[in-house]
């Protein structure tokens, strides 16, 4: 049974006051809050297990290694990857993308085509632009529609035998649009392209099955789904990961080292140079366990009621326009109020203890498409309530009265 009050009691930060008011946290798409179950795992790691993994013969190292590898297994099960070694621990989505982009440097040929979508976050744009500069490959963009969805007809006309890689987010961070990644993967594969899905915004709301999707690469960050910052993962099919060169050189990623020649370790260690974020990796696993204990279906159902409730309430405010009206979207509302700059509204809401995001959300091309400087983005999580949405509405009315 989904009990939001019980869930809220798991999150110590939600009882905090901000500017004298109880915190209303609607910036979940930027980072989610951390339940005590995850905080305890981090504390426990530094209290009982702290040591270096994969090489100590002593007890602490063994226990820490077991906990870290158990977390990898948890992540594998969560995403239904075929093998645990297809899960690479990274610093987060951005590093995962850079790892792949760097890996293709010597694989691509000049004139090869890469497709990205118009809905991407800067971190799923810039690494590919840099890859194109290194290789002479060409970056093409799948355009978007006024509703904030991808133009699937245009996508098909962009596909051809030169298309080597396609990068699309599962869910748009700025608008909440859920993209038809199944179809994109299928059609991409039909022309021989490999497809990377940026799941940073999807994973807090949706439980992806990478085998059912047939995704070549799927990347995400722990801090969007109740885990800590600074850790994330790269899923890749082992056949593809095996053909990529290592990303960084260092300890842990080697098999043998001599001054003449070094041979590399097998997956996943080949891509995990140096001492990793051990506590972070273990806590990532704990965060998935926590979310699964609530259940992604229950989360999706509850968040959909929040989204509907908020959409209806916000649209009653005169002059308020919502950007991103895809039929399928996660609990994110990006909006503006006519004649008022998003920064002004965000600043006033902050005074009332309400945390929203304002600005371009690291997706400037989307803002350019709508010809706006930015939006106010309220992003909801399963621990938010309708009462908090009421406070947002009252706060907005007050801010508008002050600013108009």
């Amino acid at each position: 049974m989904f009990d939001v009050n019980k869930i809220r009691s798991d999150f110590p930060i939600l009882s905090r006051k901000v500017n004298g008011q109880p915190l209303v946290y609607f910036d979940n798409a930027a980072t989610s809050q951390t339940p005590v179950q995850v905080i305890d795992v981090i504390t426990d790691y530094y209290t009982r297990l702290n040591s270096n993994i994969h090489r100590g013969v002593h007890k602490l190292s063994q226990e820490a290694t077991e906990a870290y590898e158990a977390a990898r297994k948890t992540i594998q099960n969560h995403f239904n990857a075929a093998h645990a070694h297809e899960i690479i621990f990274t610093a987060g989505t951005t590093e995962s993308i850079n790892l792949i982009a760097t890996g293709y440097t010597n694989i691509l040929q000049p004139g090869d085509e890469l497709l990205i979508s118009a809905l991407e976050h800067h971190s799923n744009i810039v690494p590919w632009q840099m890859l194109c500069e290194r290789t002479g490959a060409i970056l093409k963009v799948i355009p978007m529609t006024q509703l904030g969805t991808l133009d699937s007809n245009a996508f098909e006309t962009l596909l051809n035998e030169k298309t080597r890689l396609i990068f699309v987010n599962h869910v748009s961070n700025a608008l909440g649009t859920v993209n038809p990644i199944e179809e994109i993967i299928q059609k991409g594969h039909a022309v021989g392209a490999e497809v990377l899905i940026d799941g940073a915004q999807a994973c807090p709301h949706i439980k992806p099955d990478v085998q059912a999707l047939d995704a070549d690469y799927y990347v995400t960050s722990a801090h969007k789904l109740c885990g800590p910052t600074g850790v994330g993962m790269l899923y890749g099919k082992s056949s593809l990961l095996n053909q990529l060169p290592p990303y960084q050189g260092g300890g842990e990623m080697i098999a043998t080292v001599t001054f003449e020649k070094t041979t590399y370790a097998d997956l996943p260690h080949k891509f995990e140079a140096g001492t990793p974020n051990i506590a972070g990796g273990i806590a990532f696993g704990a965060a998935l366990d926590y979310m699964n204990s609530i259940g992604f279906e229950a989360i999706a159902t509850y968040e959909a009621t929040l989204l509907d409730y908020a959409t209806e309430a916000l649209l009653k405010i005169p002059g308020l326009k919502i950007y991103g009206e895809a039929p399928e979207k996660t609990a994110v509302i990006s909006f503006n109020v006519e004649g008022i700059h998003p920064y002004d509204i965000g600043s006033i809401l902050d005074q009332m203890g309400i945390a929203v995001r304002t600005g371009h959300h690291c997706a400037q091309p989307i803002m350019d498409f709508y010809q706006i400087p930015g939006t106010i983005r309220a992003s909801f999580s399963f621990y938010n309530t309708k009462e908090e949405i009421d406070r947002l509405v009252v706060g907005l009315q007050k801010a508008i009265a002050m600013l108009q």
Binding site: I340, H341, Y343, D344, G346, D350, Q351, G374, M402, L403
Partner: protein, 141 residues
């Protein structure tokens, strides 16, 4: 002619009369709405400071050994803070601007707007004011 320190003191005293954040913000919003801060010819791409949040335009010119600033922003609260900065720093000798402290902003409860994480262009604006002061001071020497 009032010094920068005197002007800062004046602003601090004015703000101390406000009872809560709403009065402070309403005052800034009024400042932001009312002041003509920059002439259109100076609202150029060269004079723009791009923040993630709001844009700021700054222009400086020398009038009788004093540095006069005009500026603008697309966000009203940012513009209100600009109006306060201009009131304090404009029409002052470059040397005085160079030597001036900026912590009065903390004392009037607007510190958060000067945080680099706000990315609203104001931090860069203060840097820009100081840079102009350096440049014109060199010119005067």
């Amino acid at each position: 002619m009032e010094t920068i320190t005197e002007k800062q003191q004046e602003v601090i005293e004015e703000f101390s009369l406000f009872e809560d954040w709403m009065q402070r913000y309403e005052y800034m919003i009024d400042l932001g709405k009312s002041l003509p801060l920059i002439s259109e010819e100076h609202k150029t791409e060269d004079n723009i400071i791009k923040g993630c949040q709001s844009k700021v335009w700054v222009h400086a010119g020398l009038e009788d050994d004093r540095l006069v600033f005009t500026a603008d922003s697309d966000a009203i609260i940012t513009k209100g803070i600009i109006a306060i900065l201009i009131r304090v720093f404009s029409n002052q000798p470059p040397k005085a601007i160079l030597e001036a402290q900026t912590d009065f902003i903390d004392q009037i409860g607007l510190k958060e707007h000067l945080s680099p994480t706000r990315a609203n262009g104001l931090v860069s604006m203060i840097k820009q004011i100081k840079m102009y002061a350096v440049a014109y001071q060199t010119q005067l020497n």
